[in-house]
Symmetry: C2
Subunit: 195 residues, 2 copies
């Protein structure tokens, strides 16, 4: 998605070979017009799939997920993160490991909002090691719902999450796929292919 | 706002005289069409005020804030919640007390995304004791920015936050103002007035 790539180049900050900061338009300050374009793009990609629900994870996934939900005219559900030591019988839950923070947390979704009649599109801001996506898929499985696919705003293609999900036969659509952040520079997959 | 009141009656759950659960369309599962109507309504109310930025607090404020930002064509910034014991020099921060959870947490906004040229509209999902709003106002003050007003989706008018903010001369616009949750029933302010 051209507008997103331009935004990443203009306002993204490469903090290291592995970390891209997009606080200026996605993770802290949010560009609503770009989010709407992202929502339209995901909706276009998955419009044939009979999606009944968009599933994401608080907080940074909410903006692109909401705009996708608006375009597809279905509800959006955001999984909540919480400490591992509280419990609630009325929720589906999964454990998610964060490599960047070296912590585990529990993500949960109320049983009221996901069931076996649902066809679910996961939307999230980043895909790196794929732990968040795996947790959301676990929850969809527990609900007996069907996974239509995964829409990712920015995929760090040099990390293993995307390959692992695609190897399972899951459709993963990334609007910007980053090949490398080396030398403080963002290189997208398409550019790498063109070389 | 009629559509919101109807949604609260239909899908809201009164858990006690003080707690209204709106997980079905605002706090966990989110109705994107309703959020868009909410954004349009806030944008209409504050369109003369030269708003340059929408400020909210993760996670439940993000959906109505994003739609308001889209309508006013300005960025949205969500303050982050974190533990009191981490620190970061590049952020404005404020302490917020939660009466429901009896905890304090720190909310923070990067200095990069709020400055003295900004005219800020706060948007949040709930107003009860007003602690979150006070924390956000504190951050706006630290930035030297101007507060245009506060847009609240659901105000619990039987709790003191709204009065306290209005007594300070702040414009607070609530799309649904709840007079009482007694006897398991939602009574809106307008209905109370009509009696």
């Amino acid at each position: 998605m051209k507008a997103l790539q331009e935004k990443i180049r203009k306002d993204g900050i490469v903090l290291s070979d592995e970390v891209l900061k997009v606080d200026a338009f996605l993770n802290h300050q949010v560009d609503p017009v770009l989010m709407k374009q992202i929502g339209e793009t995901f909706a276009g990609l998955f419009k044939q799939d009979g999606v009944t629900k968009i599933l994401t994870l608080e907080s940074s996934g909410i903006s692109p997920a909401l705009m996708t939900a608006l375009e597809l005219n279905v509800p959006m559900v955001f999984a909540r993160k919480r400490k591992p030591f509280t419990q609630d019988a009325d929720v589906y839950e999964a454990s998610v490991h964060s490599f960047t923070k070296q912590t585990n947390h529990i993500i949960s979704v109320s049983r009221a909002f996901l069931n076996q009649a649902d066809r679910v599109l996961i939307v999230d801001d980043f895909l790196a090691n794929g732990q968040a996506a795996e947790g959301l898929i676990d929850i969809i499985d527990q609900a007996g719902a069907e996974l239509c696919g995964i829409g990712i705003v920015i995929e760090k293609a040099f990390q293993p999450g995307g390959k692992r999900l695609r190897d399972r036969g899951i459709r993963v659509e990334s609007l910007a796929s980053i090949r490398s952040l080396e030398n403080g520079t963002v290189t997208f997959q398409e550019e790498a292919h063109a070389k």
